[in-house]
C-alpha cells in the first residue's frame, strides 16, 4: 500500500506488541488482536488474510491445548486421566484451559500486530525505513526472503518428480529423498544469488537508498496515537488500574479499566488512516 510509511507501521506494531506482551489480561490482548485484525482487513481485505487466519488459528489452538494437557493446576477439575499415564495423566482444569487460551491469544495478537510488514507494505519500503547502519543487513534479508517462494515450489516439484520415480513416503527417514535434494537446490540457489549480489557491488562500501519517503500527516497521526497508547497503558498499569489477570488458583473474569480501554482503542487508528489497496 503506497499511502503508508513503514516507519509509522513500525510504531503502531510496536505499540500493539507492547500491550499484548506487557499485560497478562486477556481482555486487553483481545482488543489488540481485534485492532490488528480490523486494521489489516480494512487495508488488504479479508480474502488476503485467509491463510494467515488459518495459520494463526492452528498455532494458537495448539498452544492452548498444550497448556491444557500439560499443566494440571487449578481448582476447577473438568475431568481426570489416571496418573499412571505418562505425560498426560492427571486432572484437567478449567484454569489450565483458560491460561492456555490466554497464551494462544498472545500469540495471535503478536502475529497480527507484525503482519502489516508483509501484507501492507512491500519489502523494499521496510528496507527504506531502516536506519542506514542496517541497510546492508536489510538487503541481505530481503534477498533471502525472495528465495522462500522458490524453496516452496522446489519442494512440490521434487516431491512430485520423486514420487513418479517410484518413491513412496515410508516413515520419516524416507523423506530424506525429498528434503535432501530440496535443501541442496536451495543452498545452490542461495550461492548463485550471493554471486549475483556481489557482482553488483554488494559489500563495496557505504550504501545509498533509492527512496526515503517522508512521513505524511496520516503517518504522524498513527505514530502519535501509538505513542499515546503505550504511554496511557503504561501509566494506567503503574497506577494499578490496567490490572493483570491470573488464571490460578481459581478462574476469575479479567477486569477492564477505562484508561486501558482507551489505550487499546487508540490502536484502531489504522482502520481510518490505511486506505484500501487500489
Amino acid at each position: 500500500m503506497d499511502n503508508v510509511n513503514a516507519r509509522a507501521i513500525a510504531a503502531w506494531s510496536a505499540a500493539c506488541l507492547f500491550i499484548a506482551l506487557f499485560t497478562t489480561n486477556p481482555a486487553y490482548k483481545f482488543l489488540v488482536l481485534a485492532a490488528a485484525f480490523t486494521a489489516l482487513a480494512a487495508s488488504v481485505g479479508i480474502r488476503r488474510l485467509h491463510r494467515l487466519v488459518i495459520g494463526v488459528a492452528f498455532v494458537s489452538t495448539f498452544a492452548a491445548l498444550l497448556n491444557f494437557v500439560s499443566a494440571h493446576l487449578g481448582s476447577t477439575v473438568l475431568f481426570a486421566l489416571p496418573d499412571s499415564i505418562p505425560a498426560v495423566g492427571g486432572p484437567y482444569t478449567l484454569e489450565a484451559l483458560a491460561f492456555g487460551i490466554n497464551g494462544g491469544l498472545t500469540i495471535a495478537a503478536a502475529i497480527f500486530s507484525a503482519a502489516p510488514f508483509s501484507l501492507v507494505v512491500a519489502a523494499h519500503d521496510v528496507l527504506d525505513a531502516l536506519p542506514r547502519v542496517l541497510s546492508r543487513s536489510g538487503a541481505a534479508i530481503a534477498a533471502s526472503m525472495n528465495l522462500v517462494p522458490s524453496i516452496s515450489r522446489s519442494f512440490s516439484e521434487v516431491a512430485e518428480a520423486q514420487r513418479l520415480r517410484g518413491w513412496r513416503p515410508r516413515g520419516p527417514r524416507s523423506w530424506a529423498d525429498v528434503v535432501v535434494p530440496v535443501v541442496l537446490t536451495s543452498a545452490e540457489g542461495s550461492i548463485q544469488l550471493a554471486e549475483s549480489m556481489e557482482a553488483r557491488g554488494f559489500g563495496a562500501g557505504a550504501r545509498t537508498s533509492w527512496e526515503r519517503r517522508p512521513l505524511a500527516a496520516a503517518d504522524w497521526l498513527l505514530i502519535g496515537t501509538a505513542v499515546a497508547a503505550v504511554g496511557i497503558f503504561a501509566f494506567a498499569h503503574a497506577m494499578g488500574a490496567a490490572a493483570d489477570w491470573y488464571a490460578y488458583p481459581r478462574l476469575s473474569l479479567p477486569a477492564v479499566d477505562p484508561l486501558g480501554l482507551v489505550a487499546c482503542l487508540l490502536l484502531f487508528t489504522p482502520v481510518v488512516t490505511w486506505r484500501p489497496r487500489g
Binding site: 516439484e157 521434487v158 512430485e160 518413491w167 537446490t185 537508498s209
Partner: protein, 445 residues
Amino acid sequence: MATARLRELSYWYPRGATPALDAVELEIGDGLTLVTGPSGGGKSTLLRVLNGLVPHFHGGRISGTATVCGRDIIATPTAQLASTVGFVFQDPELQAVYDTVEREVAFGLENLGVAPRTMHDRVDRALAEIGVEHLRHRRMRTLSGGERQRVALASVLALQPRVLVLDEPASQLDDDGAARVLAAATDFAAAGRAVVIAEHRPEMLSRSATAVLAVDAGRIDGRWEPKDDEIPTQPRTVPGAGAWTLTDVTAGHDRNAVIGDVTLDGRQGEIVVLTGPNGGGKTTLLRTIAGTLKPLAGKVERRPGRVAYLPQNPAAILHRPSVRAEVDLTLQWSGENGDVTAIVESMGLTAVAGRYARDLSSGQRQRAAVAAVLVGRPQLVLLDEPTRGMDARARTALVRVVRALRDGGAAVVLATHDAGLERELADRVVEVCGGRAIETNAVTA
C-alpha cells in the same frame, strides 16, 4: 588495446585435483566475444575470472595474471569491480534481490553509494536501453523468464560497466525471450563496448561476434565445433494401442482453470509434442496426464505402468553419492530391471559415472537427471522442456534415448519451445495456447 588480458592463468577450485583453467593466454578486445565449448570445459569459470568471482567468491588457488581495463582482478575484490565489469547469470530466477523491477535495477547503484537523483536517471536510462520501461512498476515474481533476464541485464547496465559478461543468459529462455536478451547484448557491443558471452546456441550470435573462443578442458582451444553425433533416421514405428486419454478435461491450480475442455489422446510408440507460448498450459497438461494434478472436470485415463516424468529443472532431484547410484535408485524404487551402464553411456556420462552429480557441470547434471528419470522401461514418458539449458551433446543424447523409448513402445509426450527438437521427434504436434489444445499436424513416417 585489449580490454581484458589473461597471462598463464591457471585456477583450481577448492579440493580440485586438476585445474579448471590451465595456463590460459587470452586477450579480449571491444565488440562481442563468443565463448563456446563443451559442457564442463571451463566456460563459466573463465567468465567468472573476468569479474573476480573466481577466485574471490569461490576460493581455490590461482596463478598467473589477469587484468580488465587495467585493473588487477586477482588483487581487487569482486564488489569493487562491479562498475567495471557487469555480469549476468544463467538463471533468471536466482538473481533478484528486490520485489519490484525499478528497485531491482537500482540495487547495484545503492551498493555503490550513487546519489538518489543520479540513481533515478541511471535506472531510467538502463530500462530504456533494454526496452523494459513498461515493466518498471511490475513485481519481479509476475515476470516471465525472458523479462526477468532483461531486467537482470538492465540492473547490470545501470552500473555503466566497461565490460559486460553473460554466462549462457538465454539457456533458460524460450526462443523469443532468448532473442530479445541476445539482441540487447549485441546492441551493447555495437556501441563500442566489450561483451563476453557464453552461449549454448552459438548460431544465434555467430554473425555478430568479433571473436569466438573455445574453452575445452580448461584451455583456450581454437575454434570448437559441437560434435553432434549423427542420429540415424529410422522409419517410425506404427503407433500401438491407446496409452492415455483426456476427455473434456479442465485443470488448474486453486480452482483456477489453466486448461479447459481438452480432449486429447496418445498411443504407445508415439511422440506427441506440445508447443505454444509460456503460460499457455503445457506443464499443466503434462501434469494432468501424469496424474499428479487432479482435473477440475473431465476424465483422465492411462494404461497401467510406470510414468517417467522429467520436470523443468530435473537436476533438482539429484542427491545420491554418484551418477550411477542416482540412476540405480529409480530402478530400485520402481522395482524394474534396467541397464544402468547403457543409459549412462548413451548420455555420455561414463567418465563421470562414479562422481557426485552435483559436482558436475550444469550440462552434465542435466544429462544425469535425464538418465535417472528415463532408465528402465517406462510405459508413459512425459518431458517438460527437456532441452532447456542443454548443450548440443546432451540434446543429441536425449533425442537418441527418447527415440529408443518410443521405438520400445512407450508413449511419449513432450512440451518444448525447441523447434528443432519438435522436427526431430514429433509424430504429432499439439499447440497449447490460452488453455486450449489444438492438434496442428500429424507427422507421417
